[in-house]
Every structure is written in C-alpha cells, then in structure tokens.
C-alpha cells in the first residue's frame, strides 16, 4: 500500500467481501454522481482489523431526474433502499439533508449510508479527495487528514479514535499534521 503520486494510493490487498460490495455499488453510483467515501470504511480499506455494518458516503447534489436514473440502475443491479420504496420519497429524504441506506436485496447489512454533501465541510471534502486503486476497481475517499480530524475532534468515540490512530500510523510519513490542525479548527467553527 503506497502513494503512487500526491493524490493516488495503490493497494494490492486481497479484497474482502466488504471491499467487493463497495466497489460494486460505486461502479453504479459513479455514472450518476460525484462521490467521496468518508469515515470508518477508510480505515478498513487500509487494513483495520474490524468490519463495519455501513459505509458512509457523500454525493454531490443531483437533480431528481438523475436520481431516478441512479435509483433504477441500483434496483436493476440488485440493490434496495431501506428507508423508502418510491424514488420521490428517497430523494426527498436526501434533499432534506437526511441519509438514506442501500443494501443488496433481502439484506440489511452491509449497507451504504448516502447523503448529499450540503455543509461547507462536506462540500470541501471533494476538493482534496484521494483516489485509491485496487485490483478490482478504483475508489474516491476523503483526504486522510480530514478523516483523522473528523474522527478525533468531531465524532470522538473510542472506535473513532482508534480509526484515526490506525490511519495516522499507516501513513505517518505522509500525513500533514498542520492540515489536521486546520481541519480541527474548521470543525470547531462549523
């Protein structure tokens, strides 16, 4: 696992079922919306020894027509929304700033927790996203410094502090400590 340029990480890991679930969902989503994966899954992608029930993701706001096409494509590929059935209802939740969850049909876990990026912090996470290249596809994730700051200074649970520590240890020669401090101040003022 290494940076191959400033914004790209290459991993040769043997992919887990969770990784394959993420890559499959993303291969559909990316045709309709810009996205960035945030939070717990990032530490798992980079080796943390735990699973997660959900994968958090921000998408840039899309219009209802585009969403309807995305929803149809997800259904066609075997996904369902846990929160509502009709695309209009699902879209309204998103437009209200709420998260909606998608899983494979007849399943609840694992699921994708999808949210429109509405806050300035969420929107900024698209500006310095990283590309992660795996053997079976690529993913965009939020910057490592953002993840560490968000987990350490906003979420702050034991699990989140551990996730932050894991990312910091894995990439300790690449992490910009000053950036973490900047994000910390942004989080405090959000």
């Amino acid at each position: 696992m290494k940076f191959i340029d400033k914004t790209t990480i290459q991993t040769d890991k043997i992919l887990t079922e969770l990784d394959l679930f993420v890559l499959d969902f993303i291969s559909i989503l990316e045709r309709y919306a810009d996205y960035v994966i945030i939070s717990g899954y990032i530490s798992i992608l980079f080796g943390r020894s735990k699973a997660t029930e959900d994968v958090d993701i921000f998408i840039r706001k899309i219009d209802f027509t585009t969403f309807t096409n995305l929803y149809a494509a997800l259904q066609k590929k075997g996904y369902w929304c846990l929160n509502a059935e009709q695309p209009k209802d699902v879209y309204n939740y998103l437009a209200d700033g709420l998260a909606v969850r998608f899983a494979r049909k007849k399943e609840t876990i694992p699921n994708f927790e999808v949210k429109f990026a509405v806050t300035s912090l969420a929107q900024e996470s698209f500006h310095d996203k990283l590309l992660v290249k795996t053997a079976k596809g690529d993913l965009f994730i939020s910057s490592l410094e953002r993840q560490i700051a968000f987990k350490r200074y906003y979420l702050k649970s034991e699990k989140d502090l551990e996730d932050a520590k894991h990312i910091e240890e894995i990439f300790k020669e690449k992490i910009d400590i000053k950036k973490i401090e900047v994000y910390k101040r942004m989080i405090e003022h959000e």
């Binding site: 890991k13 998260a99 876990i109």
Partner: protein, 67 residues
C-alpha cells in the same frame, strides 16, 4: 517490529493493539495482512447475513425509523 504492549484498561489495551496491528500492516506486504483481515471481515459479514435483521428493526436500532 515492536511487541504488543499490555494495557491497564480495556481502552488502552485496544489502542495498543491498534498501534501494533498498524505497524504490522505498514511493515508487511499487502497480501500478508489482507489475508488475515479478509478472514475476519468475511466471517463477520456472513454472520450478520445469517441474523436476517429486518430493515425496520435495523433503522429503529439506529434511531432512523421515519414515518
């Protein structure tokens, strides 16, 4: 590679393991650590699938059940 430090509390014990495992991941080939990670994660997901948790129960548990 450093040895795993025992912790005085559960939280310290867990954090020490996080550090220990991160060093293992950093200093070993991806194939090595990911084989171990895959065993753990795949079995946890398989168990979760077997539990057949309904969406309603799950969303209630998460405090996200909306009418």
């Amino acid at each position: 590679m450093n040895k795993l430090k025992p912790g005085r509390t559960n939280a310290e014990e867990r954090m020490n393991f996080v550090e220990y495992w991160a060093e293992y991941v950093r200093t070993h080939p991806d194939e090595d650590w990911s084989k171990q990670q895959k065993m753990l994660i795949d079995s946890q997901l398989q168990n979760a699938r077997k539990s057949s948790l309904s969406a309603k129960k799950y969303l209630k548990m998460k405090g996200e059940l909306r009418k």
